[in-house]
């Protein structure tokens, strides 16, 4: 009987095998490769031949003067993105909900979803072009309005703002989808009852639409907790320059420069491990909270 069961399940194991092997190589091997952080690693000696140095690189990481600044930049930029990226889609979904001509609504949706599908290389190219202090269209408009031109991508104050605004701009449209789906799922009789009770549109929004969106709002807020150390690697890499490292450099870009451009493999791995562990805790907590309070399961 047991052998029959195994034989029945055999094709299922066979289907999983190729994917399993690839995941073991490309996801689990790098987890083993964390040993680099505890070695004086050189590619020539590899993971097994490099000498062990204990926590040396973790000490070095915490003793570097710029580490705290970069951690702060990362958390600051990521938190701003999470907050703005949470509020804007909700507001836009509420506004879209008030549009009752279907074709206008669809047209607006078509345009605001678009940036989501562009890579940061394309968007970075567009931003560098339109924000250029000498020839960009944004500064041309500022000048036309009698204002001083701003070097958006080279100014320490403006750079993080550009990161947050452009990230929200790229994603807000796409993120309205879940909220519009939630609004569409609200029972219409609730609105009828509210109208019977004399509620105007504003009261209906406040007492029917918003409560109807609340579960998905809670879920999105909780899941975004896992991104507190993800300030947007590709975006920053595309837009930043040495002149804005002070406010624009984040953990991911620091790891990249250190590890793959100046070949300090062990130090970069140590910083990467710090990030991975903190992110792991945050993501696990956020999934647990989402499961606990929003009854959300990923599978």
């Amino acid at each position: 009987m047991i052998s029959f069961k195994w034989r029945r399940e055999l094709p299922l194991h066979a289907m999983i095998l190729p994917g399993l092997v690839l995941v073991l190589i490309f996801s689990y091997m790098p987890m083993f490769g964390i040993v680099i952080a505890f070695q004086k690693f050189t590619p020539f000696h590899g993971w097994f031949g490099s000498p062990w140095v204990g926590l040396k690189y973790f000490e070095e990481m915490f003793n570097r003067p710029d580490t705290m600044q970069v951690v702060w930049n990362t958390i600051y930029i990521a938190t701003m993105k999470i907050a703005a990226g949470f509020i804007v889609p909700i507001l836009v979904a509420l506004l879209l909900n008030e549009v009752n001509r279907a074709w206008i609504k669809r047209g607006i949706q078509t345009f605001i979803y678009l940036p989501h599908f562009m890579s940061w290389v394309i968007l970075g190219g567009v931003l560098v072009d339109i924000l250029s202090p000498s020839e960009g269209i944004v500064n041309a408009l500022l000048k036309a309005a009698g204002l001083k031109p701003i070097f958006f991508l080279g100014n320490l104050d403006w750079f993080p703002r550009v990161l947050v605004i452009s990230d929200v701009w790229k994603e807000f449209g796409f993120n309205t989808i879940v909220y519009l789906a939630a609004i569409a799922g609200i029972n219409p009789t609730l609105y009828e009852a509210a109208i019977m009770d004399g509620a105007n549109r504003w009261k209906q929004t406040l007492h029917v639409t918003l409560p109807g969106m609340l579960p998905i709002m809670v879920l999105m807020a909780t899941l975004s907790l896992g991104n507190v150390l993800n300030a947007g690697f590709e975006q920053v890499l595309v837009l930043y320059s040495p002149s804005v490292y002070q406010t624009g450099d984040i953990l991911d870009t620091m790891i990249y420069r250190m590890g793959l451009q100046s070949f300090q493999y062990s130090l970069a791995t140590a910083i990467g491990l710090f990030k991975s562990v903190v992110s792991f805790i945050l993501i696990s907590v956020s999934y647990w909270l989402a499961y606990r309070f929003a009854n959300y399961r990923i599978f």
């Binding site: 190729p18 190589i25 549009v99 931003l127 072009d129 549109r201 990923i298």
Partner: protein
């Protein structure tokens, strides 16, 4: 037809204005770049171009299609999108089917699911990941762009949840007719899940088209860069070391800005072409993962 109150009319006017402005903010930057790419370089440098080409010219496009580095990277991207999407989709289906079974008919299911889900929760980090790929000797080959990301766990979960929402009788009747798991998967599950699979397919293609960072670090020689990585080097890094003297002379004529704009447009064009198809599916696609028992 009922009459709108005064307040309501003001609100609607403001609302439409805000929404139209938002829509414009998403569209106009691309129009501006398109207009720049189609204008002559003196007009662009004089700042005359905003939303309509001035002194219409296709010189920039002619330059980029005659540039072997651009054409070569375009070919590599096509290869990557085709091969990468095929591998991704095959693995997504082959993983989602067995993992959608319940624990009774597939006893190791939970173990397998956790092995895959754990890879979303924890990463080894950039450097160990790079070293792993270096050790597999894939660097500088097309497979470096395909195999490391071959298992898209999120998409597997999406399709898995879709498979689970299908009636169990489908599988049972297929087994009674004598089909095994492979036949049931290909002949029953895949055909009826076409909307879900099409969604994932389009997202996967866009993902392969757009990704550039892996190409940048995993290809040692710039001639193996896919288009997005190549664009990153020319648009963002402004690395002129790859240019030859005659290119530099030509650049003086057609201007760096119009060429860049033309390359941005060519890089974005395929996305714009599949966009209508994408749009038909992705709203459904987002919601489809949420159907659970």
């Amino acid at each position: 037809m009922h009459v709108l109150s005064f307040g309501r009319r003001i609100f609607l006017t403001v609302n439409y204005t805000v929404l139209v402005l938002l829509a414009c903010s998403c569209l106009l930057p691309f129009i501006n770049v398109l207009a720049t790419s189609l204008s002559s370089s003196p007009a662009v440098n004089a700042g005359e171009v905003s939303l309509w080409p001035v002194d219409f010219s296709l010189a920039s496009y002619r330059y980029i299609v005659s540039n072997p580095a651009f054409v070569g990277s375009f070919g590599i991207t096509l290869e990557r999108v085709a091969l990468g999407t095929a591998v991704n989709m095959l693995l997504t289906i082959m993983l989602a089917y067995p993992l959608s079974k319940d624990n009774r008919s597939f006893r190791l299911r939970t173990v397998y699911v956790w092995v895959f889900v754990f890879t979303i929760l924890f990463h080894g980090g950039l450097i160990p990941w790079y070293m792993t790929i270096k050790m597999t000797h894939l660097l500088d080959t097309i497979w470096a762009l395909i195999l490391p990301g071959a298992v898209p766990v999120f998409n597997v979960i999406l399709l898995l949840n879709f498979f689970r929402s299908l009636p169990k009788e489908l599988e049972e009747s297929s087994f009674i007719d004598g089909a095994g798991h492979w036949t049931t998967m290909w002949k029953i599950y895949v055909p009826i899940s076409m909307p879900a699979i099409a969604t994932i397919l389009l997202f996967t293609m866009v993902g392969h088209w757009n990704s550039w960072f892996d190409g940048l670090i995993l290809m040692n020689s710039p001639k193996h860069y896919p288009l997005s990585s190549y664009l990153q080097t020319v648009i963002i890094q402004m690395d002129y070391s790859q240019l030859k003297q005659e290119d530099i002379d030509l650049l003086a004529v057609i201007s760096n800005r119009t060429t860049k704009a033309a390359q941005i447009i060519v890089g974005a064009l395929p996305i714009l072409i599949v966009y209508p198809f994408l749009q038909r599916y992705f709203v459904k696609g987002i919601v489809l993962g949420s159907v659970k028992e």
